[in-house]
């Protein structure tokens, strides 16, 4: 083996493999079994003989009797024989290695090629295998196949001929084309000393490149279905050489197989992979069918779910990926047919349904022929406002029990008193029944004037004093759904003195008796729930407001206006639609499926502001968020436990990180008590509630000891509002960390609120409300069942008896000044008594599309001023 000293590899003329000089000169170069001295001797002998041959050739003097090359040949043969003899002798003498040029068994390949240093494995023509550092160039230029496959004898003959035609060394007039077979390749061994060698290209039988090893390994993983590992190998090859042979095909194959396999479990991912393949190689065998089938399934699912926008988008993608495919044509037809069927139905439907059917057709396929014109015509006849709401009204009637039913009640009924402002009390405000209001007997009597000329929606008669008297009396009757315990305690008697006047006698003077008149009035001829049975129409709520109730299903409420004349609402129909979650409701607004969104999640406000097609409004009173406690749960009577629960909540973090997604400010801020910051009953000297989880844990341990040591398990009920969805799991986790197990129970908002107001039992409940009249609202704010009948034992649900008694004192306050003093005391003492766990207050927003005109930017309730709103027809079209 040729050793390379520090000056660089020795460049020895390669012994010509002719005349019986076997190629094992190359073998010998790599044969590590030959001792160093022997190699030198042999090679020196060869060199000398070669030199003599050259000299002989150069001088053209040949010994007599020999042909010009004969002497050289004979010398070489002699040298060869002596070399063989010496080698044989050395190998027998040496305890290691054999002269037998048996191939060195290759070391096993590393288990994980990714972790190993790159290497190539070269196999020499004698079969020996060596692991070397990656060779260069890569791959090595291929040898002429003919040359490569020559036998030793052929090599010898070729060498002889080459010798004959050999030009003088360094003959400047002869430029011989370099024989690639004779090119040397520098290799660096992985192991052993020395490491650096050069090898003739022709001596290399085969090179197994590291990249090919990786590809092969990747192929194995691919075959096994381990796509990730296969991908890793291919990726490494790509990193080493993006153009490596075979890499592209393998990547394509990986994309196809992995994408096809993923379609079953993760269709979107599978499609993505196949789409990537389509971008690389659109004509990959089987790809178009695979894509088409997969897209078709997704399109079907979107179609079934009514998500036509997504379905159409998928259809466009399918048509791009597999143009003209039968699945694409079939899917398109499905959309078209549905849209057309709805169009046809709409043509025969009554005007009230036509708009909805055409809107649905537009949602399905907005490009249907004739759709736009039909929709516009129908819409102009019945302008319809679609509203995305958190919850539809469960019980529609004159006695609202939830925010949803309260919202709808304002559309169905005229309130006795619209608001507690001066124009309303004087009877000058529109949209109310009260025309005059007079206090009698030092506040223990009220005389109310009733507006005439308002007719009930069933056409039976005009609204009169008996309806007002009935409504006021019903609210004092425990059997009525509208029962209010405080009103029942206050009301002595009510009398309709004539058609247009009602007199009310109270048991005592009350600080603001007019507050009790801000409520809807139902018909006296209705049942207790305000519904009337009529022939041919069944039972329905009868009202006197600008809208009539049309129908209520699980997630849609329809309201309709039949008014005519210049003052009739321009929005003739209202469709309230409940979406499964706040995000889908917001997206419905963005898509244009709805024109008005009741509640914009706080973290989406910026998106609304950026969208030119949307407008943002706010409610004038911030909503106060809190966790209500039921004192009928014995554990929650324990003061230490309540304090622990309060201290376990990191209000600032939750508000800023989970609700607002921006820092708190003056309006959106952490609460220190039950009332809104800055309100006239918010005591300024109350210290903020602390976040001290370590102390909370100690308090829980102390509370448990007081209660006998049993584990504390509570339920936390919450509505699907964006704030509650964001924070309740985190609050439950905080409680768990301090030793209180909490089970989360989600409930529709209407169901939750109606149950709590009725005095139903619970443990913890997330609540949010916008208290406009804190003196009147304080009781239900702190004790959910405050106004429930006695049979519900709801007063006992007050977690703090002290606060309960203050609330009762507040109810009995004869005038506003003393009431305010008591309310401030409630605010101060609530910090330590913790009848509820205050959280924060947030400014609530609503949003509408530009096709709706009329909503004000700041309102008290969602439909404020709806009789003056206008809505134009609009539906979203697909990008062309």
């Amino acid at each position: 083996m040729s050793e390379i000293d520090d000056d660089g590899p020795d460049e020895l003329p390669a012994p010509s493999p002719r005349r019986g000089v076997p190629a094992f000169f190359g073998v010998r170069e790599l044969a590590p079994a030959l001792p160093r001295g022997a190699c030198s001797a042999i090679l020196s002998g060869c060199a000398r003989s070669k030199l003599r041959g050259l000299k002989a050739g150069a001088s053209s003097r040949t010994p007599k009797g020999f042909a010009p090359g004969q002497i050289a040949r004979r010398v070489r043969a002699l040298g060869l024989i002596s070399g063989i003899a010496l080698t044989l002798a050395t190998s027998f003498a040496s305890p290691t290695g054999t002269l037998a040029q048996a191939p060195t068994p290759p070391r096993p390949k590393p288990a994980d090629l990714l972790k190993s240093a790159p290497f190539d494995r070269i196999t020499l023509i004698d079969g020996s295998v060596y692991d070397v550092e990656p060779v260069s160039p890569r791959p090595l230029p291929p040898l002429d196949p003919k040359k490569k496959s020559r036998s030793l004898a052929e090599l010898d003959e070729a060498a002889r001929k080459a010798e004959e035609g050999r030009s003088r060394r360094n003959d400047p007039f002869v430029r011989k084309a370099p024989d690639e077979a004779d090119q040397f390749v520098i290799v660096h061994m992985i192991e052993g000393e020395p490491r650096d060698f050069k090898v003739k290209r022709s001596s290399i039988k085969d090179v197994e490149y590291f990249d090919d090893m990786l590809l092969a390994e990747g192929d194995r993983y691919l075959k096994e279905g381990d796509y990730t590992r296969a991908f890793e190998r291919y990726l490494l090859v790509r990193f080493r050489d993006p153009n490596w042979r075979g890499l592209d095909d393998r990547v394509n194959r990986l994309l196809f197989e992995e994408g096809s396999a993923a379609l079953a479990e993760d269709n979107a991912r599978g499609l993505r992979l196949l789409s990537d393949l389509a971008a690389r190689k659109p004509d990959y065998p089987g790809l178009a069918d695979q894509l088409a089938n997969s897209y078709a399934r997704r399109i079907d699912r979107a179609f079934e779910a009514g998500d036509f926008l997504v379905g159409r988008r998928l259809l466009r993608e399918l048509e791009r990926a597999a143009p003209g495919h039968t699945e694409a044509r079939s899917a398109r037809a499905r959309f078209l047919n549905r849209s057309k069927a709805l169009l046809d139905r709409a043509a025969k439907a009554p005007p009230s349904d036509r708009v909805d059917l055409l809107a649905e057709a537009a949602r399905t396929w907005p490009e249907s022929d004739g759709l736009e014109s039909a929709y516009r015509a129908a819409f102009e006849a019945e302008p319809t406002l679609t509203v995305a709401v958190a919850d539809v009204a469960g019980g529609v009637g004159p006695f609202p029990t939830s925010p949803a039913s309260g919202r709808v009640a304002r559309l169905l009924y005229l309130f006795l008193l619209a608001s507690d402002d001066e124009p309303s009390i004087r009877g000058e405000a529109p949209g109310q029944l009260l025309t005059g209001f007079e206090l009698l007997e030092l506040g223990k009597g009220l005389k109310i004037g009733i507006r005439g000329g308002v007719t009930w929606s069933d056409g039976s008669r005009a609204v009169s004093s008996i309806d007002v008297a009935r409504s006021l009396a019903d609210r004092a009757s425990p059997a009525s759904p509208g029962y209010n315990a405080r009103w029942a305690d206050l009301l002595d008697r009510v009398e309709a003195t004539d058609e247009a006047h009602v007199e009310v006698r109270l048991t005592r003077s009350s600080m603001k008796p007019e507050d009790w008149l801000i409520a809807p009035v139902g018909p006296a001829h209705a049942a207790a729930d305000g519904w009337v049975s009529s022939v041919g129409q069944g039972r329905r709520p009868v009202g006197d407001g600008p809208y009539r109730w049309e129908s209520s299903a699980d997630s849609v409420t329809l309201l309709h206006s039949v008014a005519t004349g210049p003052d009739a609402p321009k929005v003739r129909r209202i469709r309230e639609i409940r979406y499964p979650n706040p995000v889908s409701a917001f997206e419905a607004l963005q898509r244009g499926d709805v024109s008005l969104l009741e509640h914009v999640p706080p973290d989406r406000l910026a998106e609304v502001a950026k969208d030119a097609g949307l407008r943002l409004g706010r409610f004038s009173t911030p909503s106060v968020h809190r966790i209500a406690l039921d004192g009928r749960t014995p554990a929650l009577r324990n003061r230490k436990l309540r304090r622990a629960l309060s201290m376990a909540i990191d209000r600032k973090m939750l508000l800023e990180d989970q609700v607002l997604h921006h820092p708190a400010d003056e309006v959106n801020a952490v609460s220190d008590g039950p009332f809104a910051k800055g309100s006239f009953v918010d005591a300024a000297d109350v210290e903020p509630l602390e976040y001290r989880p370590l102390l909370a844990k100690g308090l829980v341990a102390a509370a448990r000891k007081e209660m006998g040591g049993s584990p504390i398990r509570l339920t936390l009920e919450y509505p699907p509002s964006p704030e509650a969805l964001a924070v309740c799991p985190k609050i439950a986790e905080s409680f768990r960390l301090i030793g209180v197990e909490v089970q989360l129970v989600g409930r529709p908002e209407s169901e939750l609120e109606a149950g709590l107001l009725a005095g139903r039992r619970f443990d913890l409940a997330y609540r949010a409300s916008r208290p406009k009249r804190p003196l009147l609202d304080a009781g239900p704010l702190l004790v959910p069942g405050y106004d429930a009948p006695t049979s519900a034992d709801a007063l006992a649900s007050a977690a703090s008896p002290r606060i309960l008694q203050l609330l009762i004192q507040l109810d009995r306050a004869p005038e506003t000044t003393s009431a305010r003093t008591i309310a401030l005391q409630v605010d101060r003492e609530s910090r330590d008594e913790l009848p509820v766990l205050p959280l924060w207050q947030v400014e609530d927003h609503f949003a509408w599309r530009a096709n709706l005109r009329g909503p004000a930017e700041a309102v008290d309730h969602l439909y404020q001023g709806i009789t003056t709103w206008e809505v134009e027809p609009w539906f979203a079209k697909d990008p062309q």
């Binding site: 305690d489 003061r639 001290r692 370590l694 034992d793 007063l795 004192q809 003492e829």
Partner: protein
Amino acid sequence: MTRLAVSALTFLALSAAFARPQVPKSDPIDLKTYAIRVLLDFDPGTRIDAAGRSAVLDDWRELTARFVGEPWAIEIVADLGPLPAIPIADLKAGDLKPASGKADKVWAIRVRPRKSGFALEGRELDVSTGWLGEVQSRDVAHPSDLPRDLLRLALAMFAPSAEVGESKAGGVSFRVQGGALPVASPLGEVAPVGSIFRALRVFPKDDGSTPEIVEVRYSYFRVERREGAIARCEIIRGLGDPLTNRYARKNRLVALGIKPASMPTRLRFLLKGDRLPAAGYRLIGRSIPPGPRPEELGMTDREGRIVLAPGFAEGLVSLRLLAGNEEPIVDLPVMPGETPDERTIIIEPRPLTLALEARLDALRDGIIDVIASRSRFEARMKARLDGEDWAGLDEAIREFRKLTPRESFEKRLDQIRADGERQEAESKTLVLTRNARAQLDETKGLIDRYLDDDAIRSYEDAAQRAKAERARPKVPEKGARKAAR
């Protein structure tokens, strides 16, 4: 002649004396049997025929003889009068009076059918006072159990009578009718230890008509021990002195036994002054004699009312009305179901006391928080000291000193106390009630016991010493000094 006249006169006198009819000597009350007339009405729906009824009654009488014996002399009355037509709960004393005759008690009992078995209801009329007891009831699972359950009903209905004797040392002696008679078994004992009596004041009418009977409310007598026929009783005082005799009219005090009845107990609390309902007040009850712990019974509604279900207690119970979180407003003993009528009690609301106690509760919360923080810091300081981590110790001391100091709490506590005293002086009403004072003292004790600064001062001293030690220049060792020379 004179001798003859004297003899004749003597003879006449003696004759007159002998001619006076013999007045039988009456038994003392403790030897007097209870003559009991029983009106037992079997509802036709029970389907018990005459023979069956007779058998039941015979068995029952046998049981009464076996278990009660002499104290009861039972007479079954055949003529039920108006009883069958009147629900037991609606009976009046006048309905049963005609059937009383010379008896001491009249028992009106009805047997009626239930879904399975029978229901027994009964009331007792005490003839001498005209007092009609409350409805007692029992359910009977099987006809064969009738006699036994009738006995139990009788024992529940039976209210022993007693003469009120002298009161001394907080108690009073009763002479119980039939108390000295032998009983057939302990079950039949008249007025055993633990029995409860109510007091009735009898105002006789000058015209001899039915005297007026007035119940002494909210006061009871509990038999503590028996000394033969005399029952020594503890007075369980509710409102006022039950034994007072400050009455203009002539009257006498009698005692009648009382037991829990199967009826709701209705109470209503009104605030003194404006008589507004005491809404939102908690009611707790404790058995008499005191049981292991008081039990919360409910909360008054907006009308100040609270209804306690039948059987909420097994005997006499002391009810306590709480205002705010823990302030007792009134204590009164009550026998469950003793009357179907609603009892109205006027209470003092004490708003100033409640506000003071709310401040105290908040102060106590703050103290507890600081105590918890201090103990944590003390543990940390100890660890730093043990590990000679002087920087850490200094840091812990600094954090400790940031906590609210003891003086601040003392000042707040003194302020609360002073405010209470001032309010008392100004309003001339009791503000610092016994409970309020106890809470003030307890809070003071909390401060004294747990906010002591000895520990922190010792850590500060240790830190100072260590600091001084570190600041002192190091004196080299003796050997080293020699080497330096």
